[in-house]
């Protein structure tokens, strides 16, 4: 079993840890969606090399075998607001020129374990970490979601919302979750 390290997140019996063995992902990870597999098999490593994103894998902590039950790639992000002073007044708009965010670039669950709440648990872990154990400010989680009913339903169930309808006919849709809503609740206790 992996030894928990600095960037590991453990909730209950589940460990989310940085992915280092990308070859293993190529051999063993299949979420049933071609584009998503392609991302994790080929792009995730390159993105890591370029310092663009980090990929984490979820495993059951007591199982010795470190096969990835689920994968999630994260990148720093920002939600920029421009020309808002016309509406808010310059002083107020200057308070928060941008909202710092973490972006879920891609996430997927190994085929045999889909529809078993693992994806939601992984998002819960990410939410919890970015509220309780963050090293810098992070107000929002953003996601680049496939524009597919099943995927959008999943993110909506996890209380993500669309930024707008402008991308409703595109292949991907941008959504967000406001971590401040969670920080006001008792999950942190």
């Amino acid at each position: 079993m992996l030894k928990p390290e600095r960037n590991d997140f453990i909730v209950g019996n589940w460990l989310l840890t940085k992915l280092l063995d990308f070859d293993r992902v190529k051999k063993e990870f299949d979420c049933g969606k071609k584009d998503l597999n392609d991302y994790f098999w080929n792009d995730a490593f390159a993105h890591r090399e370029e310092l663009l994103s980090e990929t984490y894998f979820l495993k059951e902590a007591t199982v010795e075998d470190d096969f990835p039950v689920a994968l999630i790639s994260l990148a720093n992000d920002t939600v920029r607001r421009e020309k808002i002073w016309d509406f808010l007044g310059l002083a107020e708009s200057k308070k928060y020129p941008n909202y710092p965010a973490v972006k879920i670039t891609r996430a997927g669950v190994l085929k045999p374990f889909q529809s078993k709440d693992i994806g939601s648990h992984m998002l819960n872990m990410i939410k919890r970490v970015f509220v309780t154990n963050n090293r810098t400010g992070c107000r929002l989680i953003t996601v680049d979601s496939y524009n597919e009913e099943r995927v959008l339903k999943f993110y909506k169930r996890n209380e993500f919302q669309f930024f707008s309808d402008k991308d409703k006919n595109k292949k991907q849709r941008s959504m967000f979750y406001d971590l401040k809503r969670l920080s006001n609740t008792s999950i942190l206790a």
């Binding site: 920029r80 421009e82 808002i84 670039t105 939601s120 680049d144 707008s164 991308d167 292949k171």
Partner: protein, 55 residues
């Protein structure tokens, strides 16, 4: 090659104002972590899968 990661939209003018308003309104209804009632089932499935791989 997989689809490129789409850029997060830049919110301008009215869209930015509406977003701001939405954030403020939503703070009145705090969020909870999503319920995961099938997680124990998932855990057992993962253990069984790992066991089967040992063979």
């Amino acid at each position: 090659m997989a689809l490129a990661i789409a850029a997060t939209p830049v919110l301008r003018g009215r869209a930015a104002k509406n977003f701001e308003k939405k954030l403020r309104q939503d703070l009145r209804r705090p969020s909870k972590l999503t319920a995961t009632p099938k997680l124990e089932e998932a855990r057992n499935a993962v253990k069984a899968y790992a066991k089967a791989r040992e063979k």
